[in-house]
Each structure stands twice: as structure tokens, then as C-alpha cells.
Amino acid sequence: MAVRSTSDDPLAGLSADELLRVLGHEIGNLVTIVSGYGQMLRDHWELLTEYRRLDIVARMNRQIDQLRVLIDNFQHLRWLTASSQQMPAYGSTTNVNDLLKALADDLAPLADDHPLEIDIEADLPPVVADRAAVQHVMMNLIVNATKFSPAEAPIAIEVRQDGDEVRVSVTDRGEGIPSDQRDHVFEKFVRLQDGGIGVGLGLFICRALVESLGGRIWAGDGAAGGACISFTLPVSEPFDED
């Protein structure tokens, strides 16, 4: 199978064979987990406590959510390809405190056994944002953070105003991203190493969505080790105005 290389090709830099292999691995694992838990519920229903049953159902739902993120990433990729690599800009003035607090409820199930440590600066100014786009970015970042974090390690979400931007940072407790690969991870189908986790599409889509809203995204170090992915949303009005 030939490696494709044209810049407007959705599979640029990746052979179709490799894409199918990676997708098969990713989707196969998700289906295996859901199916396995379902069969355990059926086989051991009487033995399981109600708490354990609910925990298993939550784990099954988490896999479905991850599958939805994966499918959404490919839909965004298709949209990017069809529209000359530009995302639609649906940004509108948004109360970022309300938006992120509401999203936290959606993100917690994705984080599974990783506690979310959420620190949102009070009274942030309105930003240019789109709920669906920010939600998709945050879901990708949380899924990534869980994949690279040790079990039960917390994931930190910090939101701060930096001048005329609001910065959102998601920090895991994994091994971090080597400094020479930090720009590279936002490219299409890039994974940190051969056989690495995931499809390598989430951060590429995140960058496209953030930039469509007028923001920036980058990778750095977490304060307690691990990777810290930050993105910004522009303040919608001059912040020296009321």
C-alpha cells in the first residue's frame, strides 16, 4: 500500500493499511471491553453488589463515549478535508465559567477513576467560544490524559485569564511529551512512538477547532510532571471594559 503524501489528502503521511490497523486496534479494544463487561454482568449478576453493577455500567458507558469521540474526530477530519482545511467558526460570546462548569459534568465519566481537579478562576470575562467545539476539545484532552496517566492519578484542569485570552490547561501525571516532539503531536496521525496508544488524530482536531475560534494550543510540562496541554480562547471584549 503506497504512503500518501499530498497535503490535502486526509491520509497524508499514513498508509491506508496502517490506518486500518490502528483503527482496528482502537475500535477492537473498545468493543472487547464493552462486550466483556456485558458478559460479566450477565454471568455474575447475582454475585455483584449494586455498587459494582453500576460501576461496570459506568465503565461500559465510558467506552461508548470514547468511541463517540473517535467517530467525531473522523467526521471533523472529513469536514476539514472537504472545506480546504478550515473549520467553521461558530464562535460567539460565551460565559466561560458557566460553560466549563457545565462541561465538567460531561467530562467526569470520561475520566473514569482519575479524579478531576478543576480550578477555574472566578469571574472570567466572556470569550469567543462554541460549546460543541470546546466540549470536543476537552473530551479529547481528557481521553488523552487518561490514556497516559497511571491508574487513579488525578487530572488537573486549570482555567486562567492571560491578558486578552482565557487559557485552559489539562495536565496529566504521565511521562510527559519530550520537548522535541511537542509541536509534532498536533500533526495528523502522529503518535509518540510506534505501537503507541490511540489513532493520533485527537490533538490535530483540537488544534483545528481552537484555531477556528481564534485561539492557540500547545504542549508543555505539568507542574508535577506529566504533559500539560493548554489552549486559549480570545476574550470577546476588551478586558478593560466592564
Binding site: G24, V31, G36, M40, T146
Partner: protein, 135 residues
């Protein structure tokens, strides 16, 4: 503890944490296995095998750092008594001969129902008298 009720110590090696968690629950619900260590890549699996000397290692093939086929002989070198069962998403017909040649005692495809997985592993760890077959 009688041999029939022996609880076997298991190392689970897979790069997907959620899959490791599912396998841990399936194994431990049976009452016949306890997961003593989980590895997220092949190199980690070799280190943990040397440290814990498990009775059984469930080994994925597609992993970062060191893939399962590369890790397999090193696990056996680090812990010769460990029985290694490959649990992979690759088709059995394609990869089983390579895994068995590398020292695995059995090859199972991901997606095998947990009950059958557990039963197969019990048969591997506690074969019936005169039974010399593997899964």
C-alpha cells in the same frame, strides 16, 4: 489450600488501561486468579515479570516500547516458570504460530468471552491428569 482451589498470580500486559481493568475483574471474579501486576508496555512487562514471578502472564502483542513478541522471550528469561498466554487483537491463524514458537503456551484472540477466557486459563494452569494439550 488444596491444589484444586489454588489461586494463580497473574501479570496483565496491555497498553489499554481500561482493557486491563476489565481483564482484572474477569479474572478475580472467578476466584481462581489474582492480578499481582499490570504492565502498560512490553518493557514494563519484562520488569514486572522479573519482580513478581507470576504464575501466568497475559500478554498483548501490539504495545509501545517493546511489543509483545519482543517481550515474550525476555519475560520467560526473567521468570522461567511463568506461563505466557498471548491475548491479542490479531487473528489467531496469523500470529499464533509465531507466538507459540516464541514460547507462549497459548494464543487467544481479544473478544473471547470472559467466562471462556477464564475457563481456558484454568485448564492451562491446572491441566487434567493426562491432558497434554494447550488451548
Amino acid at each position: 489450600m488444596s491444589e484444586e482451589n489454588e489461586v494463580f498470580r497473574v501479570l496483565v500486559a496491555d497498553d489499554v488501561q481500561d482493557l486491563r481493568s476489565m481483564l482484572r475483574l474477569a479474572l478475580e471474579l472467578s476466584g481462581r486468579f489474582t492480578v499481582v501486576a499490570e504492565a502498560m508496555d512490553g518493557a514494563h512487562a519484562v520488569d514486572l515479570a522479573a519482580m513478581y514471578k507470576p504464575d501466568l502472564a497475559l500478554l498483548d502483542l501490539s504495545m509501545p516500547a517493546l511489543d509483545g513478541l519482543e517481550a515474550l522471550p525476555r519475560i520467560l528469561e526473567a521468570s522461567p516458570a511463568t506461563k505466557v498466554v498471548v491475548l491479542s487483537g490479531f487473528e489467531e491463524a496469523r500470529m499464533a504460530p509465531v507466538a507459540l514458537k516464541g514460547g507462549a503456551v497459548a494464543y487467544l484472540e481479544k473478544g473471547v468471552p470472559p467466562r471462556r477466557l477464564v475457563q481456558t486459563l484454568i485448564e492451562i494452569m491446572q491441566p487434567s491428569p493426562g491432558d497434554t494439550s494447550v488451548a
